[in-house]
């Protein structure tokens, strides 16, 4: 077997933690190799070391049987390695063409030779079916196209080894399918691909071989056809896990949240939400599926009183919340898990115990008017940390230092401790690993079973499908479809999410 990449005994330490601990990994030439693991397992660090962003503390790298020293991305580009980062490394204000050639420009008489370059790129794009609009600015393009730009950027630099870090995290199911088509095509033409992911269905679907990392080490490596999602998940987490969310049938009561004719026009005059109508009853989870940027953020901001809708009503237990100050909205019986936990969920430089009373700090149990009740705050923290298994179990830990999953648990703990009738949860498990996700899902379902109404907004279709009792699809600021249960195919949801179906278009397609 010929190897394209051999990493031998790679160790990389950051200040206190060992990100990669004596990792040895071999990737066969012309194969698709999946690298899986929980957040913080060291997958990205390992690949960024191969790409020259980090220098390993020890270990060797061989590319096509030759030992190489990779000190910078330039070195690795020279070795034929290309990387598509999770957060795209594109310059939004530059054109697609400029982004592709950046750092590897052809010039003629001191000027950029754009004519010759665009010919070359067009030829390359045709060869791998990667169509992109060369002269448009990257900021005007969707993420699916931006990703193709990234792939082209690597191919333009003559990469024959391509590393993709969580490439489907931001894609719709249709875009993911298309990406996998492209990857297969690349493999056909002899390229070697390393796919970093934690989505097990992707591993099974496209990879030839899979390596599992946990806590900086490779804990398992097998040929994909010989393994199962269950086995991979257990290796990743280090204990048996439930991949399916278990829940009983919803015991639905009367509507808690009713939204009618809600519209929102933003400051620039763009109509973001268009006549939105839906309701959430007690004891049910309504999931809102949609590609990000279709109005979900603003919908949540309207409900939580952060922005004022242009028209329409939002009633919670029969009281119209529109125009209420935020505090009064929350006091009316609302809990909110915000989509951006670092910006809106936490004060990251505060301690865990302080974060656990944010927004509850005016309550008498924590506040004696003159000063905060320190022992009550401490007790509250100890209780919630235990109940929600926050690690480290230290009320005085600074929130910034917690892992993403534990930060999220702090927010969930605080919001659920409000004991509100309505829970609005945006992207509750974004960036949270399998173990944490499992826990958060169980917490949400147990609130539902207590008779709470839950509005779930998530870009993760698996999450929407497995948690929701009913599913609404949002597209271009409109609710284009409400499914009465969660028995719907991902691909079907995808068609509504991309506007292919819905709003009368359904009939013409059928």
């Amino acid at each position: 077997m010929k190897y394209a990449i051999e990493l031998v005994g790679i160790t990389k330490r950051f200040a206190r933690t060992v990100a990669n601990d004596n990792v040895t990994l071999s990737v066969s030439a012309g194969s698709i190799h999946a690298l899986v693991g929980e957040n913080g397992a060291g997958k990205t660090t390992l690949m960024e070391t191969l790409y020259g962003i980090y220098q390993p503390d020890s270990g060797k790298i061989r590319i096509h049987d030759t030992e190489v020293a990779i000190k910078s991305p330039q070195d690795s580009i020279r070795q034929g390695i290309g990387m598509v980062h999770q957060h795209f490394m594109l310059v939004p204000t530059l054109s697609v063409l400029e982004n592709i050639i950046l750092g590897a420009e052809d010039t003629r008489n001191a000027f950029l030779d754009l004519a010759k370059t665009s010919e070359r790129i067009t030829a390359l794009a045709d060869k791998f079916s990667l169509s992109v609009p060369l002269n448009e600015k990257v900021q005007d393009l969707g993420v699916g196209i931006q990703q193709r730009v990234e792939i082209l950027k690597a191919l333009y630099r003559k990469a024959d080894i391509l590393i993709l870090d969580e490439p489907t995290a931001v894609l719709t199911p249709q875009e993911s399918t298309r990406l996998f088509g492209i990857l297969s095509e690349l493999k056909q033409q002899g390229k070697t691909i390393v796919l970093i992911t934690h989505k097990l269905n992707e591993v099974m679907e496209i990879s030839d071989r899979v390596s599992v990392m946990r806590k900086g080490k490779i804990v398992g490596e097998m040929d994909t056809p010989t393994t199962s999602p269950q086995e991979i998940a257990e290796l990743m987490v280090g204990r048996p896990v439930l991949l399916r969310v278990e829940k009983s049938k919803a015991n639905t009561g009367k509507p808690v949240l009713s939204i009618s004719n809600l519209s929102y026009v933003d400051r620039r005059g763009v109509e973001i939400l268009k006549n939105v109508n839906f309701s959430v009853a007690s004891g049910e989870i309504l999931g809102i599926a949609g590609v990000e940027g279709n109005g979900q953020t603003q919908l949540v901001e309207c409900i939580t009183g952060l922005v004022k809708p242009t028209s329409g009503t939002i009633s919670l237990n029969g009281v119209n919340l529109v125009g209420f100050p935020v505090k009064r909205v929350f006091d009316s019986g609302l809990a909110h898990v915000p989509e951006d936990r670092l910006k809106r969920g936490l004060v990251v430089d505060f301690t865990v115990k302080e974060n656990l009373i944010l927004g509850l700090h005016t309550r008498q149990e924590f506040n004696s008017r003159l000063s905060m009740r320190r022992s009550a705050i401490e007790q509250n923290a100890r209780m919630l940390i235990k109940k929600y298994d926050v690690r480290p179990d230290d009320p005085d830990a600074i929130a910034r230092g917690l892992s993403g999953g534990n930060q999220q648990k702090v927010i969930i703990a605080r919001e659920l401790s409000r004991n509100a009738q309505l829970i609005v949860a945006s992207q509750p498990t974004r960036g949270v690993d399998i173990g944490g996700t499992e826990f958060i899902h169980r917490s949400i379902i147990s609130e539902r079973d207590k008779g709470k109404a839950v509005l779930l907004i998530s870009a993760d279709l698996t999450e929407v499908l497995s948690l929701s009792d009913r599913i609404a699809v949002i597209y271009d600021g409109m609710i284009v479809k409400i499914f009465p249960d969660n028995k719907v195919e991902e691909s079907e949801l995808g068609l509504f999410m991309t506007g292919t179906k819905g709003n009368g278009r359904e009939a013409s397609l059928a």
């Binding site: 490394m89 939004p92 420009e105």
Partner: protein, 304 residues
């Protein structure tokens, strides 16, 4: 009055005022396109003017004077570069510090070299290229034949091409918009930022040299806020060389108009406000649409 405004003398006046603005403003474009906010332009102009006067005075050669002015500007800019790029300090504070420092140091050395705290001895002016067709208007001929005027026009046009059509410009823009992306394709982010700040030092130094020759001497604090006006023009011009130059021309026109209107019956205080009111109106009218380079003013940290 209209005939006064449309006269060649008025045009010459406008150009005379615009040149130092334009040079500094284009300098600002290079610095900020690369991601370094440069309010130190003010101090760089002042240092440039001072070094030009000293160089010209002691050698009698305007060319040496210009070289001194450019070097003085470059050195001052390098201080800003080190503080902003390597030490990663706040760039506004660095700029203010440099501006205050420039006022002090020029005054201090002025005292030592020329034994005066307000102005230097007189220096020779720039030689001009003969412009036969308007020699009957010596002021105008001198100005249009001034090599620095021609150089400024060349710099404006060349900069537009350099920023948008060359490899250097592409990389500079990338570094100012998304340094991480530039880094991952092997571009040395800090090196390009240095280039940007250094070019701004050279151009703002030239701007100072212009002031020195225009006045034939150095006077205390002679940059008189031109660095800030240049920055405003850069923003109004949306960080494009041509746009910045056009904005400078507008400000030059307003200032020239102010000079022309003096003694016309209106209170001088009102007339003197014209250029600043024009600045505020233009800023208020355009700033909403002007978007700065995304990483402007943000030091680049390699390993987060």
């Amino acid at each position: 009055m209209i005939s006064q405004i449309l006269s060649l003398a008025f045009l010459a006046q406008t150009i005379r005022i615009t040149v130092p603005y334009a040079l500094a403003s284009i300098g600002g474009v290079y610095s900020e396109r690369g991601g370094v906010t440069n309010i130190a332009l003010e101090g760089i102009i002042l240092t440039g003017a001072f070094c030009t006067v000293v160089g010209t005075y002691y050698t009698g050669s305007p060319l040496v004077g210009i070289l001194c002015g450019v070097s003085g500007g470059l050195l001052t800019a390098l201080i800003h570069a080190v503080v902003s790029i390597n030490i990663k300090a706040d760039q506004i504070i660095s700029g203010i510090a440099i501006n205050l420092f420039a006022v002090g140091i020029t005054k201090f050395v002025l005292e030592i070299l020329f034994h005066s705290s307000s102005n230097s001895s007189r220096i020779v002016g720039l030689p001009h290229i003969p412009m036969g067709f308007i020699e009957h208007q010596p002021d105008v001929a001198h100005l249009l034949g001034n090599p620095m005027v021609l150089a400024t026009i060349a710099i404006i046009i060349a900069s537009q091409f350099i920023i948008f059509r060359t490899r250097f410009g592409l990389r500079l823009r990338a570094v100012g918009e998304n340094p991480e992306a530039a880094d991952t394709v092997g571009i040395k982010v800090n090196l390009y930022r240095y280039y940007g700040v250094m070019i701004s030092g050279v151009l703002a130094g030239l701007s100072g040299a212009w002031l020195a020759f225009d006045q034939h001497s150095f006077t205390d604090g002679m940059s008189a806020g031109r660095g800030y006006i240049a920055l405003a023009a850069m923003i109004v011009g949306k960080w494009n060389p041509l746009g910045a130059a056009a904005a400078c021309l507008l400000f030059g026109f307003a200032e020239s108009l102010q000079i022309q209107l003096q003694g016309g019956g209106l209170p001088t205080q009102f007339i003197q406000m014209i250029p600043y009111i024009a600045t505020i109106i233009v800023l208020a009218g355009f700033i909403g649409k002007a978007v700065a380079p995304a990483a402007d003013g943000v030091p680049y940290e390699k390993e987060k």
